[in-house]
Amino acid sequence: MRYPKMKWQAPIVGAAVLALASTAMAADVELSFYYPVAVGGPITKIIDGYAADFEKENPSIKVKAIYAGTYQDTLVKALTAFKSGEPPDIAVLLSTDMFTLIDEDAVMPFDGLLKSEADKSWAKGFYPAFMENSQTGGKTWGIPFQRSTIVMYWNKDAFKAAGLNPDKAPDTWDELVTDGRKLTKRDGNNVSQWGVQIPSTGFPYWLFQGITTANKVRLMNQAGTETYFDKPAVIEALQYWVDLSRKEKIHPPGVVEWGTTPKDFFERKTAIMWTTTGNLTNVKANAPFPFGVAMLPAHTGRGSPTGGGNFYFFKKMSAEKSAAALKFVKWMTTPERAADWGIKTGYVAVRPDAWETPVMKKYVADFPPAAVARDQLKYSVAELSTHENQRVTKALNDGLQAALNGTKTPEQAMKDAQQEAARILRSYNK
């Protein structure tokens, strides 16, 4: 094979290109960012849009936003990547994964990065309800991003047809039952419309907290080392949920799928549904009837667990990268952007000052349901979060599903779950 003779210019040009390239590479910081999508809508497009806008304003930082599936999937991916030595730089993961990530020694607290006064006041500007799952041991491990609470959506047409006031949702446990009885439509053996539907796949414990909080009982301690699944108030709450389907027959039997609940609502299979406020924009776009949004019904107490994801920074980031990452996170949670994200999805804008921006004020004026979740924040509690979170929540989830299916009584289910959780957390209680 014959090679053309190398001209003398070639090496010089080559060296120049190399020099330029290396300086360009040195200036560019690349951040990898894993994020999940848990609600309907063109979320990946929105996130990609944000990343592009951020890059425009910060030309020396490149953000690689990687969609990783559900919260579960994203956690698995992030930890997998971390364990194989190539962690992402930033990830949006469940606020409740905090203990797991700390135990795996995978994430770093934000406090060390907050140098200026501006930074510190920025970090203090989030709703305290959201910070409950983001701080432990005096340090801040997560910055709220896509946070939510459970809300109750109701079909106004169905209410009217059942002879109920379409503008008033049931506000107590008893009201839910009486309204549900009127709303449940049967033809023969078949139920064409259920009164209420509370999903129980994926993370039934979260929906369950919507009931336990109304019964004024907490499921775990702040340090994440103890659980209280077998407290009488908890068992009572589970009994209420089980009774909705087994005794009152106003709720579908068995375990109800989370992902199809909004569609069930649109298809009028249920008149009331409990789901995340993050589905608000999805419901607004797709519901073929007028609907309302309300806080969860109260009993001895009122409220909902918070939910959703925080930004986490993974360890092993260089100082340069972590500075860039902090910039990105701050940019993503400015009041304007938090407002924009909240409007586009239905997640609760995570800072009080976001709700004061003109665009958000107008949105709420036009569409009051958007503020329900925010108003519920003052009654909101931390989501269930402990060490070995995945295992502990699995124990609770299994118990809830067993009770809903009738294979265990609520008391037995919760006792078994508590026993399992205590066993798992034993080594953390030394």
């Binding site: 795996e104 020694d105 129980s200 375990v255 995945q390």
Partner: protein, 328 residues
């Protein structure tokens, strides 16, 4: 396909590879034959050289992991900065005490016992039907085989849609007959059954093809002879066709057994092991433990059980069934 018999048959009578006497010839130098006594050691070297690439891959990705799994099951899981510690039989103890493990094992056995015979019976039936002179054979063959070409993930998503309570296809069709809507995948009693149906739907067509091949190789003379003697169709099938299909059945059986332990895609898509672990299959549980809870030592312990199960089944087949196969 008697593997055991094959091995015992031993020497093929190959006289060996004649080669010039220079061991330093290097890895890939094969020299043309010379007249004279063949050098047997050359055969050995060449044989191993040819086998080497595959052997290395197999060793690294099958044999080594198998051994490593067994070893790992005797250690604890390394976490964060803590390294793995020898714990003897602790993991096995924990496994025996774990009700979910027994659930998963039980589920998998039921799942296997349900899918395997049904799939084989169905595929045999399909093959017999498609082999005959029935109208629309080509369409039928297409219809039976198509599910095989689809990924299980796709199949599972489609069936997830069908099982949706109320407006899913199944409830709609059943609704026409007045059967009330049912929460198929959310009910502890029906969830596993639903997965079984999906698995059968996917695999029956695949096995049908192998039976078809075997049927088409059967001599028509057999059928004629039997008809002349006044045998009924069912008798002919039971006493002639079925035994002759045994080699194919063995092959299909191996595949079906492997699939019933290996294929858990539909669990991941449709039920994620729920409700309350009624659809947790062994490999799915291993995946959960290993990649969701990161308890790698426990996952290794569970894998050992799975390996043992597969090994017993393999042995069982080769020893037991091999004897009963009739070869033409």
């Amino acid at each position: 396909m008697s593997v055991a018999r094959d091995i015992s048959r031993g020497s093929d009578g190959e006289a060996g590879q004649p080669l010039s006497p220079s061991p330093a010839a290097g890895v890939a130098r094969f020299i043309s034959p010379r007249r004279g006594r063949p050098r047997r050691w050359a055969t050995h070297i060449n044989g191993w050289l040819l086998l080497l690439p595959a052997a290395i891959m197999l060793a690294v990705f099958t044999h080594y992991p198998t051994v490593a799994t067994i070893i790992d099951s005797f250690f604890s899981t390394p976490k964060g900065a803590r390294p793995a510690v020898f714990v003897g039989l602790d993991n096995y103890q924990a496994m025996i005490e774990d009700p979910i493990f027994w659930r998963a094992l039980n589920n998998n056995i039921i799942y296997a016992l349900a899918t395997i015979p049904l799939t084989i019976a169905l595929s045999m039936t399909m093959a017999v039907v498609v082999n005959g002179k029935i109208q629309g054979r080509a369409f039928m063959r297409l219809s039976f085989f198509t599910p095989t070409v689809l990924p299980m993930i796709a199949v599972a998503n489609i069936w997830l849609f069908f099982y949706s309570p109320g407006y899913g296809l199944i409830d709609q069709v059943l609704g026409l007959f007045g059967v009330p809507a049912h929460n198929w995948l959310g009910n502890e009693h029906t969830a596993l059954g639903c997965l079984i149906v999906v698995a059968i739907w996917k695999d029956a067509g695949f096995f049908m093809i192998f039976y078809l091949a075997a049927l088409q190789q059967m001599s028509p003379a057999l059928g004629e002879a039997a008809a002349l003697e006044g045998a009924s169709r069912w008798y002919f099938f039971r006493r002639v066709t079925f035994p002759l299909l045994m080699p194919t059945t063995l092959f299909v059986l191996i595949n079906a057994i492997i699939n019933s332990f290996r294929l858990i895609d539909h669990v991941v898509v449709m039920t994620r092991g729920g409700p309350n672990n009624t659809t947790a299959l062994l490999l799915f549980y291993i995946y959960e433990i290993g990649f969701k809870f990161w308890d790698t030592a426990f996952a290794a312990t569970l894998t050992v059980v799975l390996l043992a199960l597969l090994a017993i089944l393999a042995l069982g087949q080769f020893v037991f069934l091999d004897r009963r196969i009739h070869y033409q």
